[in-house]
């Protein structure tokens, strides 16, 4: 059993609890356990993308420094911090690369971190959980653990932007990624390819210009549905929220638009690996996936037996 220092970030603790609980459950099963790091703070998110404000990089560096200490307390843990959110992954990776290249910035940040008794020595790597699944665990191992193949679930992978951009933070080929596709196939689900797999979900416009998000989401969902998908799989809590919530709003406003459920990749894994349904926190979803899963006999069957 390898243990990884796991950085949750804000979303996974609030409206995406199901994503985290399923991830931790399957990570144990795959002998790559995610162990939450102590006293973590915000990853820094979009602020760190500005190039001239070093203050905004303190948050991610503090995370890396604390995770480094956490690694010492874990079993067989590599010097890696694992994230589930693609935004956290991107932010931490970019800043980590930046300080590895620029000692001057690192010195300034370390000076600021003195009062927290932290110092970072650029000896950590940032990984998205998908990278661990693909590169360390392997799809073969994942399919071995599948007890409840997702037969009948026609899943269209949706990447959004942050998993594949920018260059220094991407986890897969930005034009033709296959990490989600391979994962979906190893869980026994049917793969549905949609051309809009990285078409922007509308991102933070959900805060002030909802119409942008709704028009984006409509295109993404319709493209997947037209090609026969009955579910989407995502790897970003914001994409998940936008697509899920906007479909509900659209279903209310329009006639004939039947929404399809949005799964986090770890939720699909948990279902396929026979984990209890309640850890998915499906009640937090706007479009409840349970009717579809029941219809396909993917949940509720065991209880009957």
């Amino acid at each position: 059993m390898v243990q990884y220092s796991y950085f949750p970030g804000c979303n996974l603790k609030t409206n995406a609890k199901g994503f985290e609980e399923t991830a931790i459950a399957v990570s144990k099963k795959l002998e790559a356990e995610l162990v939450e790091m102590p006293s973590w703070n915000c990853c820094g998110t979009v602020h760190t993308l500005t190039s001239d404000n070093i203050m905004k990089r303190i948050a991610p560096i503090r995370v890396l420094s604390r995770s480094r200490k956490h690694v010492e307390t874990l079993k067989e843990s590599p010097n890696q911090v694992v994230t589930l959110c693609s935004m956290c992954n991107s932010t931490l990776k970019i800043v980590n690369n930046e300080v590895k290249k620029d000692q001057e910035i690192l010195d300034k940040i370390n000076y600021q971190l003195e009062e927290d008794e932290e110092t970072y020595e650029t000896d950590m790597e940032v990984k998205h959980f998908l990278e661990i699944l693909r590169d360390i665990v392997g799809y073969e191992k994942i399919s071995e653990e599948v007890v409840n193949p997702l037969k009948g679930l026609k899943v269209s992978p949706y990447y959004g932007c942050m998993l594949l951009h920018p260059e220094e933070a991407k986890i897969d080929d930005e034009e033709m990624p296959d990490v989600l596709e391979s994962l979906v196939e190893s869980l026994g689900a049917d793969l549905v390819m949609s051309p809009l797999f990285k078409f922007c979900c509308g991102s933070y416009h959900i805060v002030d210009q909802e119409y942008i998000v709704s028009s984006q989401v409509e295109k993404i969902v319709e493209a997947a549905k037209r090609r026969g998908a009955n579910a989407l799989v995502v790897a970003c809590p914001l994409c998940a929220y936008n697509i899920d919530q906007q479909q509900k709003a659209m279903a209310k406003n329009t006639v004939g638009k039947s929404p399809i459920p949005v799964f986090y990749f770890t939720q699909l894994m948990a279902i396929a690996m026979g984990e209890p349904v309640k850890i998915n926190h499906f009640q937090d979803h706007f479009i409840n996936p349970e009717p579809l899963l029941k219809e396909l006999g993917l949940i509720g069957r065991k209880k009957a037996k």
Binding site: E175, M176, P195
Partner: protein
């Protein structure tokens, strides 16, 4: 020693920023100066006469001219000295125009700078010695590397002028990329029809030795006297016995992708590249043939009546002596596999411009009916993407590939002529039609043939069922465009061919940022290279269309003939000279030399075998890199000796 100083006003070019009268007065006080004069245009005929008179009357033996750059008038004044019986190397030119008057506006300071430059030159002139110009013989043969249209034209021109010309082509036939094109813009005449007569001429010309399936592997020597080694790869078919009956092809069990048809049709392991190939001969692909080694199959040999097939043929090395070399190694299209947003070459109906040329060609895989690769259907909507790989500094080629606008327009036009109810859409950044009759051609496509032009780039291309979803922008209306197409043709850019890169490194030719060979001067010496006797033609120096390539090749041939037509060549006297007593044979100079003019040789001296540097004066360009690199001060740059340079620096350092 008597030095004459001549200061030029160059109209007002110099006189407005340098006080020339003051300069002349100051110069009179410099050591050894016999006469100092100012003149409005020293380079003019009366100006030259002035110098000549002084040389005669005052017995001057060193001349210093303060005027423009020596790149302009050094030959003029050297001729003046030679006319008067002086050695041309006792002339010194001070550049007080480009380096003083044109770059300063303070007359007082400009005069001070000019005066110290002039003083340095006078001091240096006192230390000058007459230098000798050496002569070398010339081998009146030429080597042309690359058998595309550039190499063909250059070879024909040289051969017509009577020079024995060796044309080396890497593939099995000459013709190059032009032979794959269907029609040429803007006249829409058939490419093969205008090319094949020239190919035949090459084959028949008594002065051309055509070596196909051959590569230049070694080049030694210098201008007028190159020694070249050429590796001729085996065809495994004896050309003099082969009757081109084609009996061997149907029996061959190996199926390969046909390179001539861009892999869109099959060929056998024994094949002829295409019907008009020159030399017209079958050959065997040793990578896939089952008969070469080990001998598993010999079906072709069994059916060959004239016994032309020889599985034991070996590569041979051919040695040639030539006086000039023309590099015509050409381009290759930018690989669409690099353009991820257009499907990485994985969507079968996204094809390159060259693929389309074959598909539209009557000799191509579809016999001239436009069919798409995936299912062979005739596409009803075709999108042509301009600048595919070009003008994209962040990911692909930063430059404009010049011909793509025109060939994409030509493709759209050809498509409309063949599929009348079809729709052709061109996405462009700018339509660049700089060429004779090119703009009219574009207008005709847009207006008469209803080809649709959308200004904007295609951002992404997806397979969507059996159609292709094309997403892009219309930057004139500011809207995004989404449409479904049956076929997408990428107007891929041009990049230097692998052969261009190989030959550039073999010949030590300098290449530009983008890998194309650098010309000696981009405007005034477009077919010369930095190496004397080596010329370059066609797309090896950058993207060109066919007319430009042909005139470029004729230019290179004529430049080469300028060397080949002489009995002997004069070599500049300003070369590096090694002091054998000081040299310790470390080889730093040989490393520093950009022209491979220095060799470390063992000599017998004082009863010992000593390693010393040896300068090949014919190859030395007098750049001085070796003299600067030498730690022992054992190399002197004749005309720019250490003592002369120190005298210059001394004068500049004075207050």
């Amino acid at each position: 020693m008597k030095i004459g100083v001549y200061v030029c006003e160059c109209g007002t070019n110099i006189a407005s920023t340098v006080d020339v009268e003051d300069l002349v007065e100051q110069a009179k006080e410099f050591p050894n100066v016999e006469v100092s004069r100012v003149y409005k245009y020293v380079c003019s005929d009366p100006g030259q006469v002035l110098i000549k008179q002084d040389i005669e009357e005052k017995q001057l033996d060193r001349i210093v001219v303060a005027a423009c750059s020596p790149r302009m008038h050094e030959p003029t004044f050297r001729a003046v000295l030679e006319d008067m019986g002086l050695n041309p190397y006792v002339l010194e030119i001070v550049n007080i125009r480009e380096q003083v008057s044109w770059v300063h506006n303070d007359k007082a300071k400009g005069t001070v700078k000019a005066a110290s430059l002039l003083k340095g030159a006078v001091l240096r002139a006192s230390l000058m010695h007459p230098l000798e110009r050496k002569k070398v013989g010339v081998t009146p043969n030429a080597l042309v590397i690359g058998g595309g249209i550039a190499g063909i034209q250059a070879s024909l021109d040289l051969a017509d002028m009577g020079f024995d010309t060796t044309l080396v082509e890497k593939t099995a036939t000459i013709g190059g990329k032009m032979s794959q094109l269907d029609k040429t813009f803007p006249t829409l005449d058939c490419s093969q029809c205008i090319l094949s007569p020239k190919m035949v001429d090459v084959n028949r010309h008594p002065n051309i030795d055509l070596l196909a399936l051959s590569e230049v592997v070694e080049v030694d020597g210098y201008v007028g006297n190159f020694k070249v080694k050429i590796k001729k790869n085996p065809t495994y078919v004896l050309a003099d016995k082969c009757t081109l009956c084609d009996d061997c092809v149907p029996v061959c069990p190996v199926i390969e992708h046909d390179e001539y048809n861009q892999g869109l049709s099959p060929r056998r392991a024994i094949y002829i590249p295409y019907p008009q190939a020159v030399p017209a001969s079958y050959l065997i692909d040793p990578n896939s043939c089952l008969g070469i080694d080990p001998l598993i199959c010999s079906k072709c040999k069994d059916v060959c009546g004239p016994e032309a097939i020889d599985f034991d043929m070996k590569p041979e090395i051919i040695e040639k002596e030539v006086g000039a070399i023309i590099v015509a190694t050409g381009y290759e299209p930018y690989p669409i596999e690099n353009i991820g947003e257009y499907g990485y070459g994985t969507i079968p109906d996204v094809i390159s411009g060259m693929d389309f040329e074959r598909i539209v060609s009557a000799s191509g895989p579809t016999d001239g009916t436009i069919r798409r690769p995936s299912d062979g259907k005739v596409p009803k909507t075709v999108v042509f993407v301009h600048c595919a790989g070009s003008r994209d500094p962040s990911k692909h080629l930063p430059y404009c590939s010049k011909v793509c606008c025109m060939y994409a327009t030509k493709h759209a036009l050809q498509y409309k002529h063949l599929v009348h109810d079809g729709t052709a859409i061109n996405f462009f950044i700018d339509v660049r039609t700089a060429g004779k009759d090119y703009e009219e051609f574009y207008q005709r496509a847009a207006e008469e043939d209803q080809v649709i032009y959308i200004r904007g780039k295609v951002s992404e291309v997806f397979q969507d069922g059996d159609r292709i979803l094309v997403k892009g922008a219309d930057t004139l209306t500011g809207e995004t465009v989404e449409l479904h197409a049956d076929l997408v043709v990428l107007a891929t850019g041009l990049m230097p061919s692998a052969g261009t890169k190989e030959i550039a490194s073999l010949l030590n030719l300098s290449v530009g940022m983008n890998g194309f060979i650098r010309e000696a001067h981009p405007k005034l010496k477009p077919v010369d290279t930095a190496i004397a006797g080596v010329f370059v033609a066609g797309t090896a120096t950058g993207p060109k269309d066919i007319p430009e390539t042909v005139s470029n090749a004729s230019g290179a041939a004529s430049r080469a003939a300028g060397i080949l037509s002489q009995d002997e060549l004069e070599i500049e006297g300003t070369v590096a000279q090694v002091d054998e007593d000081l040299c310790r044979g470390c080889g730093l100079c040989a490393e520093a030399c950009p022209y491979s003019a220095i060799e470390i040789k063992a000599i017998n001296k004082y009863g010992h075998a000593l390693r010393v540097a040896f300068v090949n004066e014919a190859m030395c360009k007098g750049c001085g890199s070796c003299a600067a690199a030498c730690l022992n001060g054992a190399i002197n740059q004749l005309g720019y000796t250490d003592s002369q340079i120190l005298a210059l620096i001394g004068a500049l350092g004075e207050e």
